[in-house]
């Protein structure tokens, strides 16, 4: 049972464009929604995260939009750069786990063309 559904599986964006990756979830008890960025040959690293009591969070060119009623959240990368080419994972924290256990989406491979 996939608890977090991520789309698209892959994405090609031109330099300077906007990259958008979407995630949807069913469990309304999830209480924390991070995005992780993974470059080839490296482990994933936390990029940005949001709590469900906030509708948007922005850090530089990266923005999370959160729609609680639709149970969806998305990552927007403004002015996309070739250095943003990576695999992106959305995730949700398992509620009441006490152990920061995350369930991840299947990932989106982003390629920003020069």
């Amino acid at each position: 049972q996939q608890q977090v559904k991520q789309s698209p599986q892959s994405l090609i964006v031109q330099k300077g464009g906007i990259s958008i990756i979407n995630c949807a979830y069913e469990n309304t008890a999830f209480d924390y929604f991070p995005w992780y960025q993974q470059f080839p040959g490296k482990g994933p690293a936390l990029l940005i995260a949001i709590r469900p009591d906030v509708s948007e969070k922005k850090e530089g060119r990266f923005t999370i939009s959160f729609n609680k009623s639709a149970k969806q959240f998305s990552l927007h990368i403004m002015d996309s750069q070739p250095g943003d080419s990576a695999t992106y994972f959305c995730a949700a924290r398992v509620p009441d786990s006490g152990y920061s256990t995350l369930t991840f989406g299947k990932g989106t491979m982003l390629l920003v063309s020069p």
């Binding site: 991520q6 599986q9 209480d31 924390y32 991070p34 992780y36 040959g41 490296k42 482990g43 994933p44 690293a45 936390l46 995260a49 709590r51 994972f89 924290r93 786990s97 006490g98 152990y99 920061s100 256990t101 995350l102 369930t103 991840f104 989406g105 299947k106 990932g107």
Partner: protein, 117 residues
Amino acid sequence: DVKVTQSSRYLVKRTGEKVFLECVQDMDHENMFWYRQDPGLGLRLIYFSYDVKMKEKGDIPEGYSVSREKKERFSLILESASTNQTSMYLCASSRPGQGAPYNSPLHFGNGTRLTVT
């Protein structure tokens, strides 16, 4: 800066072998995790540990076991490796979630790519 070190970058093992994947973290984190990463399947949690000698099953524990004898070290064990365990294995650590701020992120190692032939 948190460092999670996985002992091997690449491993090639034969079917039926017992395989040990080692992970060490240097930030005194209580929580440690093992994930496997497969194309199109994302990151799936195998086992995690929230304290020395403690372990909890994740989503796909079958065919695996773990050991945590010291706080900084978490080992993943494949008792009898099979070809369907060929994958990228990622270790991670974090501070405790309970009572901790939301931003207690997972810190990942760079992975061990295991091939079972």
